[in-house]
């Protein structure tokens, strides 16, 4: 089972704590194809188990609506038990806010500007 993945837009790995860590490549414009590719690869990497995920969006430039919808959807819920979105710049904060969406999601998701806080939340989140 691979513990690292790389695609056009993201790099990911499964750490020793069983947390999926994904980082969007700097300046990337994330499309639906990127999102589908990511979830497919993460699914294979996670070995069929739902795991907490730390998603680093600090470098992202944009994300399409289709990608946002997909990443909030059941395919992602099938592999992620909770998602901590790491943001930094004002742009990434806005993108993170849109990515989480405006209603109740299929899995818990929150924005963080600190990786430590994000990991602490993930370790305490259910699932």
């Amino acid at each position: 089972m691979a513990t690292r993945i790389e695609s056009r837009a993201q790099i990911g790995r499964l750490d020793d704590e069983g947390i999926i860590r994904v980082r969007a490549k700097p300046g990337v414009d994330l499309t639906l194809e990127d999102a589908q590719d990511l979830i497919q690869k993460l699914g294979a990497m996670g070995g069929g188990r739902r795991r907490p995920a730390l998603i680093d969006l600090t470098g992202i430039r944009s994300i399409s609506r289709e990608a946002r919808t997909y990443l909030r959807g059941p395919q992602t819920a099938g592999i992620e038990s909770a998602a901590a979105l790491l943001v930094g710049s004002p742009l990434s904060q806005v993108i993170g806010r849109f990515l989480i969406g405006f209603g109740e999601g299929l899995f818990p998701a929150r924005l963080f500007t600190s990786e430590l806080e994000a990991l602490a939340w993930l370790s305490s989140s259910p699932g």
């Binding site: 700097p26 300046g27 600090t58 470098g59 430039r61 944009s62 994300i63 399409s64 609506r65 946002r68 930094g88 710049s89 004002p90 742009l91 990434s92 904060q93 806005v94 993108i95 849109f98």
Partner: protein, 401 residues
């Protein structure tokens, strides 16, 4: 010192700082102080230029965002604002506006779609009410007219002639039946949609359904000199269905086929093997259905635009057929073929959960397959037993006998 001055306010402080430095250079006059003042002045120039550039960027960015918001307000969701990789506050605003535009565009599309559907629904309901009023009024008028005629004859002649009275009563019965059929259609559809229609399925020979329908519609076929031909592409016509409901469906389909068939033509009823199903296909030569309407004709109150004028009916028949087939685990769909239309009905071969061997053991296979039907688009081809496609029964009587 200069840094402390510059760390204050931007525009106003810069002028104050410049004046202070000029004054310092003028009054002190030492070479060191002069050089310090010159360096500070140059730094101030650079800062001023950067501030001016930043201000211009901000103005341009806010202008772009303002334009984008204005376009959103004008329902133009195609406009996007370029976002840099710097991720600044301005980029955050730009990205937010872009994503907001996408969300609004999606919401707007959904609203437009819902509006179109609502409008179509309103039109369909108006047409339905119009058709229904006509369909209800016509037989009701007939009943009332014949009643009036009979009453007036009785009053005038004291005793009405028997044949005339018989004719009046017969016409009243026909009109009454039409009314009842119409009311039954409405009630059936209501029950089917509410899931309250009782469906009683049994294993049986589907040819009995065909025979029953052809017998009941015999006069309709004869009236348009249309011949019914039954083509059996499978010797085994056993299936799992509700006889009464299946007769209702096939009668509806055959009734439509005759109604829209060219006078003097042939209506073909083909029985063949489907995947786990028996497929009954009814073909008639006549006007085709526009491709975009092949599904819509199964909606309530909808009739094909090619035949709706003068075709009669309320547009409920096929909706009832589809709901009835669905309730029986089957399917009904339409297809344009050759110079006409084919309606396909697929009926489950056996009760769900029974394997082929178990269910097939009780099936009579004694029938003779005589003709085979070619494959229909979207269905598995049927192995030809006799490519010559001989007519099994020329006309309705053939099968009945």
């Amino acid at each position: 010192m200069t840094k402390r001055i510059l760390s204050g306010d931007l525009a106003g402080s810069l002028h104050l700082a410049r004046r202070a430095l000029d004054h310092l250079a003028d009054t002190c006059g030492t070479p060191d102080a002069f050089a310090e003042a010159a360096r500070a002045g140059a730094e101030l120039d650079r800062v001023e230029r950067r501030l001016a550039a930043a201000q211009a960027d901000l103005d341009r960015g806010m202008g772009e965002i303002g334009d984008a918001i204005f376009k959103l307000a004008s329902l133009d969701f195609t406009h996007t604002v370029p976002v840099s990789e710097d991720g600044t506050v301005l980029d955050g605003l730009r990205g937010g506006v872009n994503m907001l535009a996408e969300e609004l565009a999606a919401g707007h599309r959904e609203l437009v779609r819902a509006k179109v559907l609502a409008e179509q629904g309103a039109v369909a309901k108006s047409e339905f009410l119009s058709n229904m009023s006509h369909e209800l009024r016509t037989p009701m008028h007939a009943i009332l007219n014949y009643t009036e005629m009979a009453l007036s004859r009785i009053t005038a002649d004291a005793e009405i002639e028997r044949p005339r009275l018989q004719k009046y009563l017969t016409n009243m019965r026909i009109s009454g039946k039409r009314l009842l059929a119409l009311i039954n259609d409405v009630l059936d559809l209501s029950k089917l949609e509410a899931g309250q229609m009782r469906i009683s399925r049994k294993q049986g020979d589907f040819t009995s359904v065909v025979k029953q329908c052809l017998a009941e519609l015999d006069s309709l076929f004869k009236a348009k000199t249309i011949e019914a031909v039954v083509l059996r592409g499978t010797p085994d016509c056993e299936a799992y269905f509700d006889f009464e409901r299946m007769v209702q469906v096939l009668e509806n389909v055959l009734g439509n086929a005759v109604r829209f068939a060219v006078r003097g033509s042939t209506v073909e009823i083909a029985l063949r093997e489907g995947p786990g199903t028996l497929i009954c296909s009814v073909y008639n030569e006549g006007p085709s259905i526009p491709e975009a309407e092949l599904e819509d004709i199964f909606d309530r109150f909808v009739q094909s635009s090619n035949v709706k004028n003068g075709a009669g009916g309320t547009g409920l028949g096929l909706a009832i057929c589809r709901a009835t087939m669905s309730a029986q685990g089957g399917r009904i769909w339409a297809q344009n073929t050759l110079a006409g239309v084919t309606m396909h009905i697929s009926i489950p071969r056996q009760r769900p959960g029974l394997d082929a061997g178990g269910a097939a053991s009780g099936i009579s296979r004694g029938r003779t397959g005589v003709a085979s039907q070619g494959a229909v688009a979207g269905e598995e081809p049927v192995a030809d037993e006799d490519p010559g496609r001989r007519g099994y029964a020329a006309g309705a009587k053939g099968l009945r006998n």
